[in-house]
Symmetry: none
Subunit: 249 residues, 2 copies
DNA sequence: TCCTTTAATGCAATATTTTGCAATTTATCT
DNA sequence: AGATAAATTGCAAAATATTGCATTAAAGGA
């Protein structure tokens, strides 16, 4: 393979994907990492891409900005996501709903972990695509402008055909009287379908959302298996919350 | 064998395959590598191809990347996208494939225009979601890490159930010998399905991608209805391109 | 036709480029 | 700080280029 060919392929990769890892290129081009490095160095000198540690990125790359991704305190969500990741096992088939907490979860999945991830969330899907070892399956259909996730009957029907190892439900509102609630009816329908399709349902919620509720109900507390917050389990106050059917993490 | 004959063969080889190895030419032409070298050197001096270490590549092979990622060619893509938007009519149901040109198209759709847009492209979908009047339907399925679009059998099957008013095929490679070609086999399959599902197929291509080809074929030129480039129609050079079955814009 | 001139080709010796490996240093993450 | 991944450097082997030269082929002139 000619050097120029490799260069072309690398540039194409960067153009389409905005970023590329050295290791991926090595496999793709069947050359050593040294060669890829030299190629990238050359292309960088020619100002055709930007060389970075571990790979290269497109020149105009300023990372994706998602609607309202970073409004809330990132730190809490990071804590929640880490706890969630501890539940994952190699080779599992999981589904992530939308929301910034799930986005953080997607971001923190270890590079090396092999998973099959379904999601109806656009931002989550993009985040997952940056991990080569994860097979990403997007649940298609009509998209909600607000939530940036797929809604509607087709998606719900689709979900009835699958059984997931774990379903991660992103931030909603939660109290022990009303259960899980949302303010978007369409989103509720999708979440219901996810819960139904999952062997185990894990809810990720920052503590602020506890003990508050919205108009539309997704499910009862008893329908979920695990609740993860940024707090220590003992500090979680769910009033009244006598029945400890739910694992707190 | 005459020198001129060899030159023609070499040029043709480069034109069709975008590149050629010295050693291959040696075998093909039954002459020493020295002769091939001298031929290629001559053709290089005549600006008919570009001599590189180990062979030769087509001129303009990497001219796109020369302009380096989105930044430089953004303007050209904007021009293309504007022409494409002129084809749209209120209330139509269209489909956009992936690629930066389609992304630009999505970006430039007027706020007020009501449309139903299908797409298998993650970035295009996100862009479309910023327009409240557009109903966005994402074609779900397994996502390509590379191209950030849905690929695979399920998506292709899904596409057989719909008939779109217009299908916009993003930048690929195009010449009149090989037709539309691509880098990525899976992407080719999706584009084929899009073309089949569309009443009218519009190809968006910056002129640099003209007269060059890649490994995998999407369709013949005769399968598309309109070709849009950033150039004036008269300036578009597709050689040989006698049959004007295609509208140039 | 024969000779001369010029261009084209192949060969061989020598340079240059490219590539992969290994050892070391540097950067990154926890 | 320690562990891990990545970058750098020097080096050697392989592939490719270059150069000079000899041979052959073609072209033109007397």
């Amino acid at each position: 393979m000619l050097k120029e060919e490799r260069h072309q392929i690398i540039l194409n990769e960067v153009r389409v994907h905005n970023r590329v890892l050295l290791t991926d290129l090595g496999e793709m081009l069947n050359v050593s990492l040294d060669t890829v490095r030299r190629d990238i160095k050359k292309l960088d000198e020619e100002k055709k891409l930007k060389k970075v540690h571990g790979g290269a990125i497109s020149l105009g790359f300023d990372s994706y900005s998602f609607k309202g991704s970073q409004i809330y305190s990132r730190e809490e969500k990071t804590q929640i996501a880490k706890k969630a990741i501890a539940l994952l096992k190699e080779g599992q088939v999981i589904i992530l709903s939308g929301g910034t907490t799930n986005l953080e979860l997607a971001r923190l999945i270890p590079e090396k972990m092999k998973l099959t991830c379904f999601t109806p969330s656009l931002p989550v899907a993009i985040e997952l695509l940056s991990k080569p070892n994860i097979e990403v399956i997007f649940i298609g259909g009509k998209l909600s402008h607000q939530a940036q996730i797929t809604i509607g009957a087709a998606a719900i029907r689709y979900l009835t055909q699958i059984k997931f190892d774990i379903g991660f439900i992103g931030t909603g509102y939660l109290d022990s009287v009303n259960g899980l609630t949302e303010f978007d009816w369409d989103v509720v329908q999708i979440k219901k379908a996810i819960i139904k399709a999952s062997r185990k349902t894990v809810v990720l919620s920052i503590s602020e959302k506890l003990n508050s509720s919205q108009r539309y109900k997704t499910c009862d507390l008893s329908d979920i298996d695990t609740l993860i917050t940024e707090l220590e389990p003992n500090d979680v106050s769910l009033v009244p919350f006598e029945k400890q059917e739910i694992a707190l993490l």
